[in-house]
């Protein structure tokens, strides 16, 4: 048994330990890395930034706690920008465990805005949280006709017609864009059924696992921006000027990535050295 064969025989729990320790230690050491901004993220920021006070966007939050690490910071950063620019926000949560995430995000964003400016954002005036409905495809189509078809009342049980912000908002024609922050295939439905049928400008914030799949839509103009995974979240945090959990996480990503690349390199050196010994028969 040579060195590499011995290395491969080690219990996988040592690999786990190495990764775990690397993350733990690099979180405790204070250092920072620059976050370069991609064009895909800048587009979304610029779009929201040029909106006039009183104009509205629809923030579709379709994720559950399993992807909160990547998506929650995006939501908070987008909400911060909207609140600061006085842009109205219609919020929906079409994942079955999404409303809890959305409600928590709204509470945090409202509290932070209050802390920063002393201004209290009000439900029904500055934002409206419509809540959850199953079968996203049909709900997306329904809202395109009129928000009141799937959502006669908001999440808190108040009729939509009685909310000041919703007086001028009937359907997607009355919002300037939809931003879908999602960890599920709901994004496909927003593209096909929301943008596809009602031609509303759409941008997406998705998990790293999903991000690469949506580049074709970017080139065709079906979406105008992508925030991809934690890096996308960190970019948006940087753009809105409040570096938070995502920016902090990116420095750790580098260490974790280095470790994983190191594992890949060791694995390959071992593979080639043992292959040579066996005459390339592996």
């Amino acid at each position: 048994m040579n060195f590499f064969e011995k290395m491969f025989a080690i219990d996988r729990r040592w690999v786990y330990l190495a990764l775990g320790l690397a993350i733990l230690i690099s979180l405790l050491i204070p250092f920072s890395i620059p976050i370069p901004i991609s064009e895909e993220a800048q587009n979304i920021y610029d779009y929201v930034d040029q909106l006039e006070p009183g104009q509205a966007i629809h923030l579709a939050l379709d994720y559950d706690p399993s992807t909160l690490a990547e998506l929650h910071p995006m939501t908070l950063a987008i909400l911060k920008q909207c609140f600061a620019n006085d842009v109205d926000v219609v919020i929906t949560a079409l994942h079955q465990f999404g409303p809890g995430m959305a409600a928590a995000a709204i509470d945090t964003a409202v509290a932070r805005h209050d802390e920063l400016t002393g201004e209290q954002m009000e439900s029904g005036e500055d934002y409206v949280f419509l809540g959850y409905k199953p079968y996203p495809a049909l709900i997306i189509l329904g809202m395109g006709q009129n928000y009141r078809i799937p959502f006669p009342a908001d999440y808190y049980g108040v009729m939509l017609d009685s909310l000041p912000m919703m007086q001028d908002i009937q359907n997607y024609d009355d919002v300037e864009a939809i931003i879908n922050v999602s960890g599920t295939s709901a994004t496909d439905w927003w593209i096909a059924y929301g943008q596809g049928r009602y031609n509303v400008p759409l941008a997406i914030g998705v998990t790293g696992v999903m991000a690469t799949d949506y580049y074709p839509y970017l080139q065709t103009g079906q979406i105008f921006g992508i925030l991809g995974g934690l890096k996308g979240a960190a970019e948006y945090e940087t753009l809105v000027g409040t570096p938070g959990k995502a920016v902090d996480g990116m420095k750790v990503q580098i260490v974790a990535h280095l470790i994983i690349i190191l594992f890949i390199v060791i694995g390959n050196i071992g593979y080639f050295s043992t292959r040579k010994r066996r005459g390339g028969a592996v």
């Binding site: 690999v15 990764l19 079968y135 049909l138 074709p216 994983i260 890949i264 060791i266």
Partner: protein, 207 residues
Amino acid sequence: MKRQIPLTIIFILGLFMVFQYFVPHETSEFLYEFIALDWPPIIGVFALALGIISLVRVSIKRVRTRDENWQYALVTLIGLAAMLTAGLPWFGGQTSPVVQWQFDFIMRPITATMFSLLAFFIASAAYRAFRARSVLATLLLLSAVIVMIRFFPMGPFTEPAAATADWVLNYPNLAAKRAILIGVGLGIVSTALKIILGVERSYMGRD
């Protein structure tokens, strides 16, 4: 009765929905908004509840028969009861702080941690399985590494590394994903057509 009528319903509704897209007439718009978009979620709730009913049935049975590890089935039932109680209208329904508390401090940490375990598994898999065995495997590996190092601060190499990754994402990656997308799209449409035309009937079950 058992098969023909459901097949006819699917055929008529399916065709109606296709035509409605191309001919948005006032009457069809009304039917579209009123029946097609409003009713299915109501019907669907009962379908979704089936899953929960069977979860309760199985858990109760496991506790009753003192199955191996029945204690865990009891934990499931207690969790269910705790959440349902907190959500009763007298305690504030879905916006009750106790519902949100259980979401924030029970559902959220467990779900998030469960998925975070995947980080360990992907590291272990990278160590054991990610080999440059052939030209194709090397392409896969190279593309992965280029994307992985795209945000590394590497002095003068930072810019070129990021630009290379951007190129990979926006050109070859885009081409690959577009081909897959076209395949998936054609697959969805042909399956939908098969269902409407009654060729695909496996969703009906047997008999």
